[in-house]
Amino acid sequence: MLNLLQACKASPILDSMKVAILGAGLLGSLIARELITENRDVVIIERNPNVARTIANDLDCIVEEGDGERLDTLASAGVAEADWFIACTGSDETNIVSCGIVAETFKNVRTIARTRNPYFAAFRSTGRRILGVDHLLNPDAETAEAIARIIYRGMSPEIIDVKEAGIQMRRIDCIKESRFPGRILSEVRASIGPEFMVPAVLRHGELMIPSGDFLFEKDDRAYILGEPSALDRLFGPCRNTIRKFKSMAIFGAEALTGLLLQELGIEMVSTSSHPKARNRQVLSLLGNPKIKVIDGRKEFLKPLSTVFPDIEPIERQLSEEHIIEEESIGSADIVLCLTSHQTINILTAQLAKQKGAKRAMALVTNDLYAPLLDSMHIDIIINEKTVMAGTILDRVRKAKIRRLYSFPQNEFELIEIQISRSFEKLGWKIRDLNLPKGFLITFVIHEGRTIVPTGDTEIHENDLVGLILKKEEIGRLENVFGA
């Protein structure tokens, strides 16, 4: 009863943002679910009546059955009153055309289109409206960026991918860190040093936000947060990072692989369709690894081989016996399994690990196998849909809010806000802000320096403030920190 009543009190009275989503596929429904948790008004437009009915049963939103390229459907779904129109059907053309129609007809609606075509990726983040699309987002490009970030950070399963470069989050098992179990948080900080935060602790699958008198247990997994150098000093360098790679095997030669190679700065034959500048530096930073790309389909390998002369494309079916031995996957430093089949990715990564690969990463499309993954040895699982949903949500949210990390299977997320000039409490101390209960400031980045906040820390313009909070509080947060 108590939690029901609390939730009742927290029910929002704010002017809720209205978002129209075209396409109730995996991505569309994921974004819808996240927005509904944040108490936004969501309308989904879906062409397939069966999908529409299922989604209407599942989600607390209006579902309009119809074709997103038709003006009457868009009008009757109430897109005119929406703040955002997000087109994420499986077809690039439908997405762009419907965004175009919306932009032409309803002037105040901002649009986001998902496109898979890698050549459209060039129009990403130009900041201009192109064909009526305000943000053209490519899931492959977003995922490639996220994977590249993980590789730069040394492919450590302990380091958690947060978007902010100046800050690092690690996950440590308390059983391995003798300074944690049996002590309370303030003691731990007193003995280790003040320059890190513990924003969250995972205990028996449940996420807890620790306060000063939080007592650590042996089975806990603690998230620690701080500047990378400070964490290295206090906890020693992350034991599992790999700084230099000699060999990298990539399974799957689809668009994502090409974008990833680009992101990693692999030398390219210069053509006008690949506008991104070459960046040899990054590659040498990684130790100039030898890269094999394995795929069973020549038509996917051919374009790669013409663009990236230095890689070694291999035409082999993943189902072939002995492929792991013959391509000596076991001796690779990194194995990336990036095909479009998550089952193959997971199994291949696990197999590569078992054969001796140092690090393996698997791309998944949903959480179906999540319960299995804990007991497997794959170092890093990356969920394409979660990455994409995070990117879209960053665009949609009012204030300058970025999602840094969404704790898996929990309602919490770590976000970062850029304090704008219009924030009325500039220069105030944190303790005087009177933040609502449930908001925990985990870090403040002031002029490029990470500060572990106390009650006396002041908040200034352009500061980046990190908070950990429940997803449903995001709407309230926007109100506190202003749009």
Binding site: M1, N3, L4, Q6, A7, C8, S11, K18, I36, N39, D41, V42, V43, P49, R53, N57, D58, L59, D60, C61, I62
Partner: protein
């Protein structure tokens, strides 16, 4: 089955019901009724709270309640049973209705907005208990579970399943993106219309107490009146017309009310269900009033029009008020009223019955089948409100209507064991299954259900619940598949 979640939510329902009983107790204290009446109300509320605590202990956990489809059906059915069980307590404890089964029948009749009573002399019952009787109507009209969702948005996504199991009609129209906001809007409209009716009735000379009781019973399409003679107690044409209008409004889809309040006046005119509903109402009124005039029951045109429209609205919307004993009316009028019992109000209204929209869909289906017969290679679609209807919806409607009648016939067989005549039997069953209240023959508006044996009362109470929750929600609990864990 997630029993813990179910009990967690059930306990809140019990708390809501106890809260209303407690506020009736305050009224009883304020008007200085016999102390035993007040005390019995307090005792009933206390027992409700006790069960709330008990269930709360049974379901101790910190997570959000999680309901699957099956849990939703279970929860909704149980919430109605438990509300009636606890709502029956004040009658028995105070001694107004000594038998607990009778009290249960009366309360179930209240919550399901049936209006079938076992009370012979209503006016002898303490006023506070009669107010509670009307309040059960009012709570059940829009739905207790809908109220729960409206005031506790924390239910989250499972709210939708629960509402679909409770709300009348084939599908729930969402007027706002969040189901809890939709529930809130519906309750606000309901509250607003109730207040409007109270004011209009008081302008016609009713006391506040009578106006509230009648407004509760009208807006919920219930039919409990605090007077022995029902609305016929008032010999005022104005009052009859006011009640007629509000019965008609209560039998309309509340989504339409919302649209009209939002400024979209054409939605009444464009809605095919509303048009059919209005047509049935007008046609039946004309036939009955002509019949009454010709047969000499009433001599003045206004009088015959007033009584016939009142009675037609009362039966069509499944309210069950009476301005006269239609058991004495001529055969044509009785037959028309008898058929109206099978139709009921609109989907999304507080009325019971099969609902006009289902009749519309079945009619269209029948016509389409005939078109297929005359043109076997044609391809036809069925349209409702200018939108094509999916086959699934049509199957769903056809199956529901079949189950409705199947249950009706089974009930007629069951009730026949009491030995009543066939007219009384059939109309008693449909009056309870359709949530109407009075039937014809020995259960006509001038009589009541007191003479039935206890098992017949329980069966009729069961029929009310089946009718209110529209068959599937209750009957699914009796299928073997429902209880299988895999």
């Amino acid at each position: 089955m997630h029993w813990k979640s179910i009990f967690c939510l059930l306990s809140v329902i019990l708390l809501i019901v106890s809260g209303f009983i407690a506020s009736i107790a305050i009224y009883s204290y304020a008007v200085q009724e016999a102390f035993t009446v007040t005390l019995s109300l307090i005792a009933a509320a206390a027992i409700g709270v006790l069960f709330f605590v008990l269930m709360k202990l049974l379901s101790r956990k910190n997570e959000k309640p999680l309901l699957t489809n099956r849990d939703g059906f279970m929860f909704v059915t149980l919430s109605w049973v438990f509300s009636s069980l606890s709502g029956a307590l004040p009658y028995t404890i105070s001694g107004a209705i000594p038998s607990y089964i009778d009290a249960f029948f009366e309360t179930m009749s209240g919550f399901t907005t049936t209006g079938a009573s076992i009370l012979t002399n209503i006016e002898a019952v303490p006023k506070s208990l009669l107010l509670w009787r009307a309040t059960t109507h009012w709570l059940g009209g829009m739905g207790i579970v809908v109220l729960l969702v409206a005031i506790l948005p924390a239910l989250g996504f499972s709210a939708l399943r629960v509402i679909e199991a409770e709300a009348p009609g084939p599908s729930v129209d969402r007027i706002t993106p969040h189901i809890s906001k939709t529930a809130k809007m519906l309750w606000l409209i309901y509250l607003g219309l109730t207040i409007a009716e109270v004011i209009l009735l008081m302008l016609g000379g009713m006391s506040l107490y009578d106006a509230v009781c009648h407004a509760f019973a009208t807006m919920a399409t219930g039919g409990f009146s605090p007077k022995n003679a029902s609305v016929a107690h008032y010999d005022s044409g104005y009052l009859h017309w006011v009640v007629t209008v509000f019965m008609f409004l209560a039998g309309t889809n509340f989504t339409l009310h919302y649209r009209v309040l939002a400024g979209n006046f054409r939605s009444f005119y464009k809605d095919v269900e509303f048009k059919t509903y209005a047509f049935i109402f007008l046609a039946a009124t004309l036939i009955v009033s002509a019949n009454l005039l010709v047969s000499g029951m009433y001599t003045k045109v206004e009088e015959s029009l007033r009584h016939s429209s009142f009675q037609v609205a009362s039966i069509l919307t499944t309210t069950g008020f009476a301005t006269g004993d239609f058991g004495q009316w001529p055969a044509v009028s009785q037959t028309v009223l008898f058929f109206l019992m099978f139709i009921g109000g609109c989907a999304g209204s507080t009325g019971g019955g099969i609902k006009v929209i289902r009749i519309v869909v079945l009619l269209k289906m029948a016509f389409t089948e005939m078109r297929y017969l005359s043109n076997p290679r044609g391809v036809f679609a069925i349209f409702v409100n200018e939108k094509p209807v999916r086959k699934n919806v049509i199957y769903d409607v056809a199956a529901l209507v079949f189950l409705y009648f199947a249950f009706f016939f089974v009930s007629v067989v069951v009730i026949s064991f009491t030995g009543v005549d066939i007219l009384t039997n059939i109309t008693a069953v449909i009056a309870n299954l359709g949530n109407i209240g009075p039937g014809l023959g020995k259960v006509g508006p001038a009589f009541n259900y007191a003479f039935f044996p206890w098992w017949a009362k329980l069966w009729l109470a069961f029929a009310m619940l089946v009718g209110r929750l529209e068959v599937y929600t209750v009957l699914i609990l009796f299928s073997r598949k429902f209880w299988r864990s895999f």
